[in-house]
Each structure stands twice: as structure tokens, then as C-alpha cells.
Amino acid sequence: MTPANLLVLATALPLIGFAIVVLLSSRIGSPRFWPWFTVGMVGASLAASTVAYVTFMSGDGAVEVHAWNWLQIGSHADGSPRYLQIGPYVDKMTVLLFAMVTLISTLVHIYSIGYMEGDSRKNRFMAYMQLFTFSMLGIVLGNSLLQLFIFWELVGISSYLLIGFWYEKRGPQLACKKAFVMNRIGDMGFLVGMGILFVKFGGDLVLRAADREGGGVFGSLLLNYPGGAIDALHAGANEWWLTIAGIGLFMGAMGKSAQFPLQTWLPDAMEGPTPVSSIVHSATMVAAGVYLTARIFPLLTPAAHLFVATIGLITLVMAALIACVQTDIKRVLAYSTLSQLGYMVLALGAGSYTFAMFHLVTHAFFKCCLFQCSGSVIHAAHHEQEMTSYGGLMKKMPITAACFAICTLAIAGASIPYTPFGLSGYYSKDGIIAATVNYGDALAAAGMNWGAVFYWGPTIIAYVTAFYMTRAFVLTFLGKPRDKHLYDHAHEVNWTMWAPQVVLAAFAIFIGWGFFKVGANLHDTAPAMAQPFEEREMEHGYHFVHGALLHGFGWMLSIALGFVIYINGFTISSRIAAIPGIAQIHWWLYNKMGFDGLYDIIVVNMFKALAGLMGAFDKLVVDGIVNGAAWVGRELGFLIGGFDYRYVDGTVRGSGRAAVRLGSILHRTQAGNIRMYVLILFVGVFTALAIATPFALGWVWFGLPQH
């Protein structure tokens, strides 16, 4: 089987699993059977993806494109029919993401068996997970923006179902709606972008393999235009349109990847079961936005790049700062995810397609693991999520603590100083910073001196990342127990939960090595179009990073700082937070920078007012017109009815009555009295004579012959 066939199979398996579980699980099979059945389906999908990955990577790297005409919509300028196409598109990025998504999905499925044990609706949960996996794989496999959008929406609905899985509680109800609505806002931009591409540029939205040598690690894509290569489009009057289209499509990514200002749904999505958080935050939903931005990469104009980079920068700084003060363990991780997504988006904006995708992959593993570890802690702590109640759990849960520690180091970008060895996050994040250094320099060279923010931001936040992750680890696993009762009942989770953690932690360590041997010619692996910098310039970026991060002990410093402050719980930090000025900032950050409140005040109230206005308009004007028309009709009806009753019916009835009355009058003359008859006879005769006499006289006087 070709990789394309394998990947179609890998996509279809979770869907089949979903259908079977939904249809049959309530009728047959034991409760223990169905969760393992779903693991089997997604495991088979993983096997197919792995075979496809190996086949493709060992092959010649030629991109496989299959497109079938689906709907004909109008025609091209030259008269040939224009089609919407569907089909699989396979390049290196596809096979890589397939392997990653199916692997993580399999591990999360196994983890879910342990986590959801005892939940009466766990079969349904597993079915939703299957649907979610299917949707994400569909996005990755899609060969056109349209197909991507279809699965995009499927991801939206699956996340809605999963986040709101515990629908009997108020929090999840609100969270799933919020996630769904926030995503719709981004999707609006997606649709606008597709519309511009389709109408203004006449593109068929289908992805095409780049026509150039050496596709790089992830290959390169172009959107197909009948008029020729995309380079031509970047020039001239179309540039603004292309910028708007690119930003529009990126808005879709902003929704899914929870970028500023659409970020508020992601922390709320923590209301869902932890396996959902784990998969949503790592391999699937939020990755979809980054994936989309990577796919549309060749479309982005320099202005759109700047927009993307700015959004990424804002998100990564903002989320990292908020993560430093949150006390709910899953919220810390959620903001950490936001921050890391900011890194990826910034990398895309800075033109480093390769490192963005690389960081997506490495992040998926350690973030998934972190969420699973937090889920294990929550599970062991009877669904207590506040870190204020934890402490010292390392003794009770050594495996979980070890996995969490490894992944904390990975996300912090830990490495061995002066050697090129580190955990996976080290490679990808350093690559991103290197790219942003070049981007900032390029901007500065173009007269925009503030371009430096694009590398100082992520560089500083790299330290902040290490700090808040250490904080979470120390507060949870080290120090003295702050809640004795909770501590006494905590215990290591069973193997279905810790085994996936261990696998993920292992991946978090070495996943970077497989792709990037340190010191290798990294930028050669990226598509030319996605790598706007010369080799020499890229090295400049690397030198900067080496100076700032690699050779230094930066990650150790912030980890040490976090350790010192939080080893005794909140005693030191609360003293710091009590300092005037800092207290206000702390409060502001703790309340997520007030975005929810801001949106409530501005957006929600605005729409409420607008809705009220519309309602009033509807009630007064529209209803008024309708009711008025009805009133006029009714009154007219009464009028016509009255006329009908009085005059038409009246004429008919009146003539009938007149006839009756006349009859009754005449009937009196028929009295059978002969004398009366005679009287009438004579009266009649005399009357006739009286009338006839004048005529007769006239006739006599004027006409009768005289004798």
C-alpha cells in the first residue's frame, strides 16, 4: 500500500470505531471491552501511520497528491470547468503529524481507560475521543483548504462534546460553549480568507507540491493558481488582497490555537476531563491552528508575517506571565500551552516554518505528558486541582513525579552546558529564538528598529517558562504536604495511566535527536520559501542563542529561583505578592489580565445592547407593521363583512321578506268574499277608466272623425 492509502485507512479507523461504539456499546459487549476496542482502533491507526511514515521517509520524498473532483463551481477564465476537490495530500509534514497524532492519541486513549474508570458514560467518552482523533487526522490529510475547513469544524464540534462531557456541571457547560463560540469568531476569518482566494485570485484552494528541488523535512506547499506561481501574486496590486486573505486564514488559526485575543477559551477548557485537556492541548486542536498557518505559509505576505509574529509574541508573553501566578495546576499548564503556541506562531511569523513545526511536535509530547501527570495527581487527589492543597506528593507518586520532572526540564529547554545535548524542547525552542533573532534583525535592517522585541520577548520568556514550570513541579511534588487528608489518600495511579506517561516522557527526551542532530545544517531542512534567511544570517541567530541560552546556565538559574521561592509552599511568594504595586499586578495576572471581564463589558454587553435594540426594533417596527397590517385587514374584514351582512344579505333577505309581506298582504285579498272581489273589480275598472279617460278624451277631441 502506498502511504496515501495507509493514511486514508488510518484516518478512517477512528471514525469506524466511533460509529461502532456509538451504535453497539450500549447493547453488547462488556463495559471493559469497549474502551480497549477504541484503543485497538486508534492503535491500528498508529500502526498504519507508522508504516506510512517509514515508507515515505525512506522513499524519494515525492509528494503524493490525489484530488478528486467533488463539486463543479462555475468555470475558470479560460472556460474550463472549475471544481472543488477532495482527496489525500501526503508530504513529510503529513506523515510526521500522522505518526505524532496517532501515537499521542493512542497513549491518551490508554490513559483515559484508567482516568475515566467508574464514569458511567466512559464508552461515550471513548467514542468522542475517536471522533476527535478522526477529525484531526482529516485536517492533516486534507488536500485543500476546503477539506481542511470541513475537518476543522469537525474538530470544533468534537472538542465541544469533549470539553462539555460532564454536562451536568455548570462549568463544563459554559466552557464548551465558550470554546465553540470563540472558535467561530476565528472561523469567520478563515471563511473570508478562503473566499478572497477563491473569488479574487481564482484559486481552487488545493494544495500542490512545490515545484523545486529538495523539499526539506516538511516539504513545501503552494496553493494552485491557474495564472502561475505564487511569487507573481506577491507583487503588485494583489498584495493587499493577499495580505487580507492570509490574515483571514490566520484568524482561523488564532481561534483554534487560542492566540491573543481569542485565547480565553483555552483555560476554561480545563473543565473537561484531563485526557481531553491532554489531547486538546498537545496533539490535536491547538496544533491544528499552527498546522494551518504552516500550510498557508507560502501565501503570507511580509505584512501578514508581521501580523502573525506580533500575535504570537503577544500571546507568548501574556500567557507566560499569567502562568506564573495561577494556582490551579491544569490552568498553569493551559497557559503554558498558550505560551508555547505563541512561540510556534511567532516562529511562523518570523519565517521559520521548520522550527514552528518542530516545536509543535516536541511540545506535543512533553505537554501531553505534563497534562497526563497533572491528571494523575488530580485523580489521586480526589479531583482537587488547586496546588495550594498539594505538596510532597513525590513520595506517594514517584513515577508521575519523575515524568513531570523530565517534561518540566524539556519544556524549560534544559541542556548540558557547553555541550550540544539537551532534551527535545531545547532544540526546538532554540531554533525558534534563532529564527526570531534573524527576523528582528531583518526588520531592523528595514528601518524598524523595534524589531528587537521579536527576539528579546521569546528569549526572556524562555526563562519565565522554566520558572513557572518549576513552580508547578515544586508546589505539587516537593516540600511538605499542605493538605494532610489529601496526602494520606494519595497513591500512585494504575498502569494504564502511568505507562502512557512514561512513554511520553521518553519521547520528550529523545524526540529532538531523531530530527535534528545538533550542529547539523538545520536550515537546509526547511523549504526555501519558508526560510527567508541566508545561511550566514541563520548562523548569526544561532550564535546569539548559543550566547544567551546554550552556553549559559539560564535554565538552571530560573529553575533554581523557582525552587528557592516555592520549596516552602507559598510563604515566600505570598510575601512578595503582598508588596504594594506587585500585589496589584499579581491580582491582575491572577485574573487572567481581565480579558474575560473586558469581553464581558465590551463584547457581551455590546451584543446584548445590540440584541436589545434589535429586539425593540423587531417588537416596535416589524411587529408594529405586521400587527398594523393585521389590524387593517381585520377592520377591513369587519367593514366588508358588515357591508355583506347589511347590504348584500340585506338585499337578499329584504327582497325575501318583502315578497313574504306582499304575499301576506295580497293573501288577505283572497278572502273568498265575493263582494270584496267585486269591489276590487270595480275599483280596478274605475281606476283604469280614470287613467284612460284623459287619453280617450284627447283621442276624441283630436283624432275622432266628426259627423
Binding site: H667, T669, Q670, G672, N673, I674, R675, V678, L679, F682
Partner: protein, 111 residues
């Protein structure tokens, strides 16, 4: 000199008497008499018109006298006789039926 007008006057008086008789009498025989009076009024008219009018040339100028009116009068007399016979027969039956000849009782034709 007695002219046509006198005859017509007489006829009108006769006719008026006949009508009055019919209208006032309750006795069927009386009504029959009234009818005879009306018929005679008509006869007087016919004879008088016959006497004073001519179909063609006047008698004085050698025209033959007309007899049309006289003939009508004769018919009416015959008719009156026949009518009287039939009327009397009706009245006899009427009497047999109602034991009276008061025509006020004869209301069976009332509508």
C-alpha cells in the same frame, strides 16, 4: 229632445245600482238581481249606441240602419237567462250545502 247622453246617463245609473246591489246584498238572489241590473245597463248602452250611431252612411242620407247593437243586446238577454239558470242551480247547491244563501258564508275560495 232626448239624446244619447240621456241614455248613457240612465245606463250609468242602472249600472251603479247594480254594482251597489252586488256590494251590499248578502242574499245571493239579491246579488243575482244586481247582476241583471248591470246587464241591463249594458243592454241600454248597446241599444242606445245602435240608435244614435251608424256603421256607414246616415239613415237620413239613405243609409241602412245598423243592427249590431240590437244583436248584442239579444245575446246578452240570452246570456242573462242562461246565467240566471246556472246561478240559481249554484245557489240551490249552495243552500243544500250551507243551509243558507248568505254569501258571507261562501269563503271556501279564500287564499
Amino acid at each position: 229632445m232626448i239624446g244619447l247622453g240621456h241614455f248613457l246617463t240612465l245606463s250609468a245609473i242602472l249600472f251603479g245600482c247594480g254594482v251597489a246591489t252586488i256590494l251590499t246584498k248578502r242574499n245571493a238572489i239579491g246579488i243575482l238581481m244586481g247582476v241583471e241590473l248591470i246587464l241591463n245597463a249594458a243592454n241600454v248602452n248597446l241599444v242606445a249606441f245602435n240608435r244614435f250611431s251608424w256603421a256607414g252612411e246616415a239613415v237620413a242620407q239613405g243609409g241602412a240602419p245598423a243592427v249590431d247593437g240590437l244583436m248584442f243586446a239579444m245575446f246578452i238577454i240570452v246570456l242573462a237567462a242562461a246565467e240566471a239558470a246556472i246561478a240559481l242551480a249554484i245557489f240551490l247547491n249552495f243552500y243544500n250545502h250551507f243551509s243558507t244563501i248568505d254569501i258571507e258564508r261562501a269563503r271556501m275560495l279564500s287564499g
